[in-house]
């Protein structure tokens, strides 16, 4: 079940509006509290510089220098049996620390343990590819390049993987607007029809629940139907005239008489 949170003050500001909000953190345990992780960390520390190491949610997290990522991952794969790179990507910390945090999630099938290798990469620097160690890193690094604009050295085919090749900007950056910048909003129009068609097609309608009473191009009012594109700002016709094929109604069914008095519940029962 979801954790209970008091709802007394639902009008309180959302956390992202609060400058002084501190996001809650999970407890960080000492790596030596786990037998396997303790020995892993001691072996790693004998070979590499480990900036920080802790256990968070049953997963070992280690911080390394970005220049040592290939060596550390090779050591983890060959010596410590972390044979599987589940996932890798980056986190945007440009505003706070002017760089990215790149993480590699490793899994050991024999030890049944997971390690997260993290490294900080300052803005403008490039990271070495781990594609030669793990084939899965090929697409993951392309995605990282696509979404964050992080250059990967010696990658075999560093090309955008999700967005089109002529896309401007990197969408997973925190500065990227959710609904796209100008070039994103006009992307399909510019590409298919050219920039001169912008005026004709018009900007995107982002409110999908928008209803404009006077827009007869897109909307019609029941009972007041007009031809498409008619100007109804002055007045509109009333087309709410029911017509029946049979004048007197058909067998057992009477025509609706709107002018008839609406019956109360008691009258309806008495009938």
């Amino acid at each position: 079940m979801r954790e209970y949170k008091p709802k007394d003050n639902v009008q309180a500001k959302a956390y992202y509006n609060d400058r002084f909000y501190v996001a809650p953190q999970l407890a960080k345990l000492d790596p030596n509290s786990d037998e396997i992780f303790g020995s892993d960390v001691s072996k790693l520390k004998a070979n590499f510089e480990i900036l920080e190491a802790y256990i968070q949610k049953d997963e070992l997290v280690i911080f390394i220098n970005y220049s040592k990522n290939v060596e550390v991952l090779k050591f983890l794969r060959d010596e410590l049996n972390y044979s599987f790179l589940m996932e890798m990507s980056a986190v945007d910390f440009l505003a706070k620390r002017n760089g990215f945090e790149i993480f590699y999630e490793m899994l050991s099938l024999t030890k049944r343990k997971r390690i997260r290798v993290k490294t900080f990469l300052a803005k403008g620097l490039a990271i070495e590819t781990v594609e030669n160690l793990f084939r899965s890193a090929n697409f993951a690094e392309r995605e990282m390049f696509d979404m964050f604009g992080i250059q990967v050295n010696n990658h075999s085919f560093l090309k955008r993987i999700m967005m089109p090749d002529d896309w401007n900007g990197h969408p997973l950056l925190k500065t990227y607007p959710l609904q796209g910048d100008e070039s994103a909003q006009w992307y399909e129009v510019d590409k298919i029809f050219g920039k001169e068609a912008r005026e004709i097609i018009g900007p995107e309608i982002r409110d999908s629940a928008r209803v404009d009473r006077y827009d007869t191009e897109r909307f019609a009012r029941l009972g007041h139907e007009v031809a498409k594109g008619t100007d109804i700002s002055k007045s509109e016709p009333n087309t709410d005239n029911h017509q029946f094929q049979e004048k007197g109604g058909v067998f057992l069914v009477k025509n609706l008489n709107k002018s008839q008095k609406i019956l109360t519940e008691q009258e309806r029962r008495d009938r």
Binding site: P171, G180, I192, E204
Partner: protein, 169 residues
């Protein structure tokens, strides 16, 4: 189709009609659809074509080539990366051609109010019928095809859709 009932037995077996009516009768009863499943609506479109809902009854047969199709059912989320290809396939279809926009995503972008989704397929190609739902059930698509048949029967047979229209289409 026929304007006057054929009287068998007495007189010639002749049916009188107009060119518009007989052409539209033929067109509306053999709508070949370009398969265009882009997302989950595509599953409903496939279900419509399969035996339970059986589109063949309407003469609606799914074709995998735009050259052989005259109706395009945009079934699913249209991304901006894909927009140029949908326009290219639409241009490759022979006249006369119609477009059904199936589901909220193709109509307005739906819940994908993001940078990567085209906010309505009508920004790229002209749409004849908008089909609400997320995803619309096969009955809804059947109803849309029937409405399209009605629309075809109403319009003149020799209309040229290539004339420049108001919304850059």
């Amino acid at each position: 189709m026929a304007q006057h009932q054929v009287k068998f037995g007495t007189g010639l077996p002749v049916a009188l009609t107009t060119v518009d009516k007989i052409v539209n009768w033929g067109r509306s009863n053999s709508l070949w659809v370009l398969t265009y499943g882009l997302a989950c609506c595509g599953i409903e479109m496939m279900a419509s074509g399969a035996s339970r809902y059986d589109f063949d009854r309407f003469g609606t047969i799914f074709r995998a080539s735009p050259r052989q199709a005259e109706v395009m059912v945009i079934a699913g989320t249209l991304t901006k990366k894909h927009a140029e290809f949908i326009r290219r396939l639409y241009d490759q279809m022979a006249e006369p051609k119609w477009v059904i926009s199936m589901g909220s995503c193709a109509n307005t972008g739906g819940m994908f109010n993001t940078y990567a989704t085209v906010q309505g397929a009508d920004r790229v190609i002209p749409v004849d019928l908008y089909l609400p739902g997320c995803a619309p059930r096969p009955e809804t698509l059947q109803y849309a095809v029937m409405m399209l048949q009605k629309k075809i029967r109403r319009e003149p047979a020799n209309q040229n859709k290539n004339i420049p229209q108001k919304r850059f289409i």
